[in-house]
Symmetry: D2
Subunit: 388 residues, 4 copies
């Protein structure tokens, strides 16, 4: 076995680096998930996670990856053959589409170029044409992890409201929660789907559904078969701080610590920090003369930045070189972007110097790989960060 000196730079857009405080919180003996000590833990995390989603409604915690929470959102609210409206914002929207189809739902996919967020007007227009209210749900990805484009959830809510259409509004903010501003109640989202390994700074293994009264009402009629994902059994047990089946106890230890850390820093401060790092990153990309994938300045992700390589240059080769020479992981281009882009994660437990080390790794990698660019990206990011 070989070691690399120093700490790996895990700059993919999730899993993000897990702080020592959280790893240590998890590194504790398992307790009886039916005992009184557990109830305190359960109630603490169930209450705390609501504050992170900014909701007064229940949040369900699954021992599952984010993909499981997607499935849960659908099977709890829909029936076989139901029609849902989705928006092609990138690879993860595409995967959600696939998942829904596998479950027997009819998916309508508003096409997109993977360089913009979901279009509120396109959604509204489609809903207006849906006279019979066949569309049961609108599903949007808040922060597209494959593109670095953020959809404007508040605007989409208003656009839906303008149509008076009764469809449920479901949002995936797996990679957005606790990094990008998110307001489940204020934005009238019915089911928000999220996961642990991004802004919450936890290892992967638990995921979330934030609910609304409307979603809970629909759950009563929904006929897709469900058991593991069933909100009803969850909420019944959660009322006293327990879970209907064995929860991922040690991740809940970590979740408690993560919520504490986020609240001590303050969510607004957390969001501002991510915006500042994202801006520094974009300035570096611009200085290099490269193109950011996201085309709408109002939709730049605070979580990650996706960079297009010039034609004829393979982004996966660049990433491999950077991994080998500088011990840094960057995100690959996914789906139709494979080989054409790389993604810089700047979320979670990082700081200015981590970010500058990251950008330095990219800039040196571009040089080593012979990708045409101007030096000076790190310099530009430093100028920005030193200024404010």
């Amino acid at each position: 076995m070989s070691y690399k000196s120093g700490r790996h730079f895990l700059q993919i857009p999730g899993p993000s680096p897990v702080p020592d405080r959280i790893l240590r919180a998890m590194d504790n003996p398992v307790i009886d998930h039916r005992g009184p000590e557990f109830a305190d833990l359960g109630q603490a995390v169930l209450a705390g996670i609501k504050r992170i989603f900014k909701t007064e409604s229940p949040v369900v915690i699954y021992p599952a990856s984010g993909t499981g929470a997607w499935e849960a959102a659908l099977v709890n609210t829909l029936s076989p053959g139901d029609r849902v409206l989705m928006c092609e914002t990138g690879q993860f929207a595409t995967l959600w589409h696939e998942l829904a189809s596998k479950l027997g739902l009819e998916v309508e996919f508003i096409p997109g170029d993977w360089r913009h967020g979901a279009d509120p007007q396109a959604i509204a227009e489609r809903l207006r044409r849906d006279d019979g209210h066949q569309i049961q749900a609108v599903c949007v990805v808040h922060n597209e992890t494959s593109t670095g484009v953020t959809s404007r959830i508040g605007d989409i809510r208003r656009a839906i409201d303008d149509t008076g259409h009764p469809a449920l509004f479901m949002v995936d903010t797996i990679s957005g929660l606790a990094s990008a501003d998110y307001r489940h109640d204020e934005w009238g989202v019915d089911v928000t789907v999220s996961g642990s390994q991004k802004g919450l700074m936890l290892p992967p293994g638990i995921s979330f559904n934030a609910l609304s009264d409307k979603a809970l009402a629909r759950a009563k009629q929904a006929r897709l078969p469900r058991s593991y994902w069933d909100w009803g059994a969850m909420l019944a047990s959660n009322a006293t701080g327990y879970f209907p089946y064995t929860p991922a106890t040690n991740l809940l230890y970590g979740l408690k610590e993560a919520i504490h850390m986020l609240e001590v820093e303050g969510l607004d401060h957390v969001f501002a920090r991510h915006q500042r790092h994202a801006e520094a990153t974009r300035r570096a990309v611009q200085a290099w003369g490269l193109e950011v994938l996201c085309l709408n300045p109002a939709e730049h992700s605070p979580v990650l930045t996706t960079v297009l390589l010039p034609e004829g240059h393979d982004a996966d080769r660049l990433r491999r070189l950077i991994l080998e020479r500088f011990d840094m992981s960057l995100g690959a281009g996914l789906g139709k972007l494979k080989g054409r882009v790389f993604r810089i994660g700047h979320l979670g437990a990082i700081n200015d110097l981590t970010l500058l080390g990251t950008l330095a790794g990219v800039e040196m990698g571009l040089a080593c790989a012979g990708v045409p660019h101007q030096p000076g990206g790190v310099q530009e990011a430093m100028r920005f960060l030193a200024d404010r």
Copy 2:
């Protein structure tokens, strides 16, 4: 907050105490689940877990609790309205029944008294009457965590074979794997369901389906909707050591260490150790003049021992007293056994002295709670353990 001096005795039948080696293995930075380092980890655990199940066929690893793995076994192999045969061995068999019903399956439940394992002859008899082969699957719980009774899986296999019935054979050994002898291939099981937090000595959060060719063939026709649990996508990704969605990376670190520890000790030695501790426990119970729930000596569980209290004595009051005075968690009576029994877990990372501390806690608890009994149970267990 208050501390109790010393280490809590977690003597429930799972989650079992997690060894320091495993907690420390998990307490490591998350890595890129799409990078080359991950593939090594993935391949190591996917190969290793097959040796623990004693199978040459693939084992699927879910980021989910054991309940999820139950659901996975059913949705991958069955279609809406399919008939399955289950055996009422206790509370977990009952829950599996409920789960299957929720998914739209027709469950036939061979009744039981919760004091015996599944009856091979009763199963064979029912299959013989199933001329049209309506029954698609026989589902049995190997080690009933609610009763401490182990079903004889090899005998059941032979009984099914004698009927020539083509039903799939599915077994839940969530609390049996890596504590009780188990042989997926030799016993011709089609889907074995298990979890991490028992004999594998891990925290809860991942679970397993061990497969057979026959199960894989059935999966092609099965029409229950599935996506998260879908074996197909899993096996395709697993081929190169990866997973189709973000895995619970840190639990996989722990799984690698657990497999290593089990193999260094030797599975046969692990099984013998559990049998020895179970025998010592039963001798203590006998010396106390109390009754072990399991009535068939051939079916005593090596994992846990369930003890009946005399009429008029509340087992939950006893457990609460033991928790408060001696900082030990014991398992509660579940379902129809609530308040009538308590369960002593003697599985996983324990040794002779842990077991004797455990039995001492029970014996002192019986005295403190005024439960009629003879002292001398610990003495008897010591005599047994010192002898061999």
Copy 3:
């Protein structure tokens, strides 16, 4: 490499088992020992450790074992050729004697039988005969780790006071602090020596000198060469929370947590717990028909119990057998007690069930080794512990 299932029983009289909370507190990144964050840590532990010693005077913390703190006590207060009075309570008193001799001090050793504490009247008598006040210091071991006998420090103080002799009074409570009642100020001790790996529940690596004004005054005239151990440089730096050379930072993290844990439980509760476990242990020894080394009931140690084997039986063989068969470490007979006794540590982070597991290991070991004894020791200890 081979693993033993379960957790080793470390029942030597120190190092004692380190609680997970303390190991995790230590498992954190090192910080700049000259930076502002360190000052907070330094001030917290320097203030907290005074409460544990029950003193208003300074306590010096060395990166050193307890032996170093012995040396520090002597070199800060004495000059070459100075006469000191020590009491032969056991092996550690003998080692302190040797150390003092190596440093060029003249040691007078009041002989003892290793089965009693230091005799207040013998000390007083010797001091009365010291007309010219040649004796500069009286040095006593509070809790003799080699014998399980505790000297009565308060009585010795009164005996010294009665003589009006001005000698310094130095006490080693390396294995007593935070397990046995100890009162530096009330008992008028001038220098108390202690270490981390016993009642403080830390790994070994730091040790202590608690001081008095009188000791500080003597330090000004003392002429034994000193630099590393010099109180002056320590106290000057400690005033602002720092140390004159690099401290053992991670052990200080642990110390902070240990002080917190002791104060949440309450020192009086901690002392009572140790007394209760010691009494249970002695009752077990009595039930076995074996002899406790300590002959004076007023001097039984709450920290450890030393057990004499019948003539012709080798205690080291017994200990080896117990280690191999039951994975428990017991303390060996030291010095002239080698092979004749074994020592049971019952200090620090243990509880009733740990103690009973420990006693069960001893009782089974006696049986396996063929040491003549009556069974029933564990039974007797259980009866005692269940009663109160």
Copy 4:
């Protein structure tokens, strides 16, 4: 309490960042330091540390800071009033001088400007004038942590040999070992002093004396009082893997892991890595238009770089600003350099991106603090690092 997002940059010249692997190795239960398991640990680290010092002679391991190991080197080899020759290379040489004086030795101090290493010719010249061989030892600091200047130990050895003077040669490489090339045997050093918290990547708390036959022979006549530091008792116990008093067990766990990591990477590779990072750092300093303290290119330290600020600028204010804004610790100017320099540590468990983050923190700090400089230092370091 407030948290800072991300990981603190600990870029002082020691303690250096402790790798997770080492923290986890230390985060394990303490074992019986008199038991058989300990002997394996003791023998492994005692053998391994010799390979790091490049010596066939014994290395003594103290539970103490590096300062203790300095004291040990002197008290084991010298007698009261002995004359030693030291060289004023900086603050740590000055402290060693003070320590020796406190112990009653006569120190001759060859003056220096803190910008050069010890001068071989000056040493030789002084020894030549010492006709009566009054000088018992020559003491040199290999890597002056206060200045970033490395003395040429091999050259000094040759210079001493040329004089035929029999003085012992003692070297402090506390901050050099395992970062800068060091050869105890080849360079004929009699006592090498080192510590854990620098190139060995451990927390502070253990320190070392590497010996020679000549040093061991001198120890027999040396008359400074000693007990804790006595090599004789140490070597006697070490022969079987044990220690004469309780060792810092958990740091020994870490030491075993550290030696393993260094040997897997290869010491030559480790040294080359440090040289490369030092060169990158100096290029950055040069690009900023600032001055490196070390004036002799042959004596640049691979461990740290000390940077002079322009007249009128306070280095401590700069460091404070960088700590507050960028969460990075840099080393202060010590002794007569206070406020005039800052020190960048680039030792131990770091990599290219950590170093560039570090240099970015410095460059932004210079800008924020209004210190006159040219931007472009990071750019220059990147150019160098990307090239090779």
